[in-house]
Symmetry: C2
Subunit: 449 residues, 2 copies
C-alpha cells in the first residue's frame, strides 16, 4: 500500500477500505506516516468527507489505538454525557451528581477549554485541591465507591485521537464531521460506558453554527454509538446566548453550586441552564433504567435537586477527588478576589435580542479565563457575570454584565467586546426553542416539550 | 499573522494577500512553517485554486527565494523551451542545437524523469562523460562560448520550489494548476531567459490528461510569462502515443542523433517527433528574432537539420559539457548491451489504433529505464523500441516492439504490459492532430498547420 495513493484516493472522493484506513492510522501512530502526509489526508477529508462505513472504521481504529476501560464489574448501566462545547456550559457539573444520586453510575472523561468554549476540567480544577489527573485504577475506584467520577483524557485513552487532534488544531482541519465524530466517540467508547447522551450545540457560540450541521453531526454520533452497541440519544440545543449567567471557571462552579443548592434555576438567569441540565439528566436516568421515560427522568432529576441529594453527591465527588469541600460550602466567603471588577452598561434602551456567546467567549480569552493555545495558563477567577439575558427589558445605563480580570490591559477592550455582544432591539424578541431536536437510532425529530 | 488562519482562509476559498502568501512561503523556506501546515495549505489549494494575482505572487516569491541568473552580457534574445513531460519526449535534445545553430542562444535548465515520464537530464547523462551539474559560472561560460547549455536545477535556483515540490510529491498535491505553474515558471524565469516556448502535452501519457486541463495550464503559464515581461508562446501537443520510436535514455539519445543526422524523421516512426521539434524550434527562432514568423522559423529549423549545422552544434554541446563525442559519432558500435532484448508480437491483425504511453511509461519503470522514487538508480540501456506507430497495419505475429533490460524478473510483466499498450482495431483509425492549440498573450486558438 502506498500512502500517497491513499491520500489521492480520498482527494478524488473515493472510499477507503478498512485495510487502507488501518494502514494509514496505524502508520501514523507508529510514526511511519509523517504529520505532513496525515495533514494532507485530513484536508482531503475536510473536502470529501467519509462514508458511514469509513467513519465507523475510523472511530473503531482510533478507539483500539488505546485501552478500553472495563467497568463491567460495577453494577448498573453506566451512562455518560458529551457536549460539543458551548459558552457558559457548566451542565456536566450539575448533571453528573444528579444522575449518580438517582442510582445511575456516571463515568466521565472530559476535555479542557480551547478557544472560545470552556472545558469541564478547567472548571473542576478551580475548586482548590480537585484532581482530574486520576490514574485508570483511581478512576475505577472512585466510580465504584460513589457512582460518579470526572477526569481528563489519560495517555491510555485513544492515543491516535490525541495525536491527530493536536495536528488538526494547527492545520485548520477541525471542522469536519467524520473527524469530529471519530474523535468524540473513540474517547467516549473507551470510558467503559453502556449508554451515552449527546448535547450538540447550535448557534453563534457553538462549534457547529447552523442547525443543519448540528443535526448532521448529531445523527453521525448517534449512528456510531448505536453501531458500537451503546444506546445513544442526541439533542440539538441552542447556543444563541450563554447558558446561565456566568462565564469563567470559578464563577461557573459557584453558579453550579447555587443551582445544586436549589437557590437558582427557576425563573431566573440560570433557568435555561437548568432546563438543559434536567433534559440531559432525565435522558441519562432513562437510559440507565431508573426511569421509564425521559419525562419521568426529568422529574427524578428535579427531585434530586429539591431533596438535596444531588448537592450531597457533588460534595462527595469533590471530596473523593481531593477537593476542598469547605470551599464549596462557604464559597461566598472563599471567593478569590480578582484585581479588577468592571461593570458594562447599556448604551440604549430596549430589549435584549441576542447575546453573542462567540464574542463573550473571545472576551473571556482576553480576560484570562480561557485558552487561545493549548499551553496557555488560565486564571480561574477571571470571567463574566451576566446581569441580563435574552428577552429582558433594559434602560440606557442599566448594568448588562460585570467582568473580572487581573489584566489591566484587558479592561478597555473587554468592556467594548462585552457591550457589543449584547444586541438591543426596540421590539421584544420572539422566544426561540432552547431544545431543538432529539436524535435516536430511529431518526431525528423536533423536540416538543 | 496566524498560519492556521491562512490555511482556513484558503480552505474557505478566499483570496490571500501578497503579505499573507509571503508570510507563508518565507516561513516555509526558513523552517518556521512546518511541512504539515504547508501540506494542508497545498491540499486546500488543490480544492480551491488560486486567483491569477495569487498565482503571480506565488511564482514571484518562489522565483525570488533564490538567485536569478543574469545573462544580459550575452548578445541576442535568449529563448528556452519547457515541456510538461511526456513519454519518449526527446525534443529538447534535438531542438536546443537546432535553435542555437540558427543564432538564438538557448539557456536550458531541465529536470529528471519521475514516474512514467522521462527527463532530459537522464537522457544527456547516458552520454558517457556528459556533466549536467555545472555551476552557474560554468553555465554562463558554456552559453557564452557556444550559444547553448543544458544543466539541472542548482541549489541557487528557486529553493522554495525545490522544497515544496518534494512535499507535493509525497502528499498528492502535484496536480494543481497554480502550483504547477508557479513551480515551472519560477525555475524558467530564474534561468536568464528573454522569451519562452511551452509545450503542454495532452492525453493518456501526459501530466494533464484532458485537452481542457492542458489548455488551462498553458494559458496560466503564458499569462505568468507575459506578466514577468517575457514573450511567451504555448502549444498543446498530443501524447496519445509516444513521440518517435524509442523510450529509454540511451535509446532516445540514439534516435535524436539519427534525427540530427537527417537519417530519420521523414515519413517514418520519428516524423511526429520531428514535427513537434520543428514547430517548437521554429517558434523559438521567431521569438529570438532570427525569423519573421513561426513558419519561417520552422523552415530555418528544417534547414539546420539538412545542412548538418544542428548536428555539429549538438556535438559541440556534448564536448563543452565533458561528454564523449566519439560515443555519439559511432553509437552504432558503442551501444551498451543490455542482458535481455525481447520482442513483443501482435496477437491479432488490424490497425494500431492507439499506443498507451502511460502503460509504456510504467513498463519503462519496471525495466529500469525510469524512476518510481526520486532516489532510484536508472539503467541508461533499458527501454523500449517501437516497431509500429498509430495507423500502421499489422498481422498477427508481427513485431510490435522490442524491449531491453538487465532485469530478468521484468521480462514477463514487461511483455504483457507492452502488448497491452497497443490497441489493435479492425478499422483504420482517423488521423488526429499532433498539434492542437497555440496560446499567446492575446489568447488561445486552434493550431492549423
Amino acid at each position: 500500500m502506498n500512502i500517497v495513493e491513499l491520500i489521492r484516493k480520498k482527494r478524488e472522493g473515493q472510499t477507503l477500505t478498512k485495510e487502507e484506513i488501518q494502514y494509514l492510522l496505524a502508520g501514523y501512530v507508529e510514526g511511519r506516516v509523517p504529520d505532513y502526509q496525515m495533514s494532507a489526508f485530513l484536508m482531503a477529508c475536510y473536502f470529501k468527507g467519509m462514508t458511514e462505513q469509513e467513519t465507523y472504521t475510523f472511530t473503531e481504529l482510533m478507539l483500539h489505538s488505546g485501552e478500553i476501560i472495563d467497568l463491567s464489574s460495577i453494577p448498573g448501566i453506566k451512562v455518560d454525557k458529551h457536549s460539543t462545547g458551548g459558552v457558559g456550559d457548566k451542565v456536566s457539573l450539575i448533571l453528573a451528581p444528579i444522575v449518580a444520586s438517582c442510582g445511575v453510575p456516571v463515568p466521565m472523561i472530559s476535555g479542557r477549554g480551547l478557544g472560545h468554549t470552556g472545558g469541564t476540567l478547567d472548571k473542576l480544577e478551580s475548586i482548590p485541591g480537585f484532581r482530574t489527573d486520576l490514574s485508570i485504577a483511581e478512576y475505577k475506584k472512585v466510580i465504584t465507591n460513589i457512582g460518579v467520577v470526572m477526569i481528563g483524557q489519560t495517555k491510555e485513552i485513544a492515543p491516535a485521537d490525541k495525536k491527530m487532534y493536536a495536528l488538526r488544531d494547527v492545520t485548520a482541519t477541525v471542522e469536519c464531521i467524520p473527524l469530529i465524530a471519530g474523535s468524540i466517540m473513540s474517547k467516549k467508547l473507551a470510558e467503559g460506558i453502556d449508554a451515552l447522551v449527546l448535547d450538540v450545540k447550535t448557534g453563534r457560540g457553538a462549534f457547529m453554527q447552523t442547525r443543519d450541521l448540528s443535526r448532521k453531526l448529531a445523527q453521525t454520533l448517534v449512528k456510531i454509538g448505536t453501531q458500537f452497541g451503546k444506546e445513544t440519544l442526541g439533542f440539538i440545543t441552542d447556543m444563541n446566548q450563554p447558558l446561565g449567567i456566568t462565564i469563567g471557571n470559578w464563577l461557573e462552579v459557584m453558579e453550579s453550586v447555587e443551582c445544586l443548592r436549589n437557590n437558582r434555576g427557576t425563573n431566573d438567569g440560570s433557568s435555561d441552564l437548568m432546563e438543559v441540565t434536567h433534559l440531559l439528566s432525565g435522558a441519562m436516568i432513562a437510559l440507565g433504567k431508573k426511569a421509564d421515560s425521559i419525562d419521568e427522568g426529568i422529574e427524578k432529576s428535579k427531585e434530586a435537586i429539591r431533596n438535596g441529594k444531588a448537592y450531597d453527591k457533588f460534595k462527595e465527588l469533590v471530596r473523593a477527588q481531593g477537593g476542598d469541600v469547605s470551599a464549596i460550602e462557604n464559597f461566598e466567603n472563599r471567593q478569590p478576589q480578582p484585581k479588577f471588577a468592571s461593570e458594562v452598561h447599556s448604551a440604549e434602551s430596549g430589549y435584549v435580542d441576542e447575546i453573542d456567546s462567540l464574542e463573550l467567549g473571545l472576551a473571556s480569552i482576553a480576560l484570562g479565563a480561557s485558552r487561545e493555545k493549548i499551553d496557555d495558563v488560565i486564571d480561574p477567577k477571571a470571567g463574566i457575570k451576566l446581569n441580563q439575558k435574552v428577552g429582558n427589558k433594559v434602560a440606557a445605563g442599566d448594568s448588562l454584565a460585570v467582568f473580572y480580570t487581573d489584566r489591566e490591559s484587558a479592561l478597555e477592550s473587554g468592556r467594548i467586546r462585552i457591550a457589543n455582544a449584547f444586541h438591543i432591539s426596540s421590539q421584544k424578541p420572539k422566544s426561540r426553542p432552547l431544545i431543538w431536536d432529539i436524535v435516536d437510532s430511529s431518526g431525528i425529530r423536533e423536540w416538543k416539550s
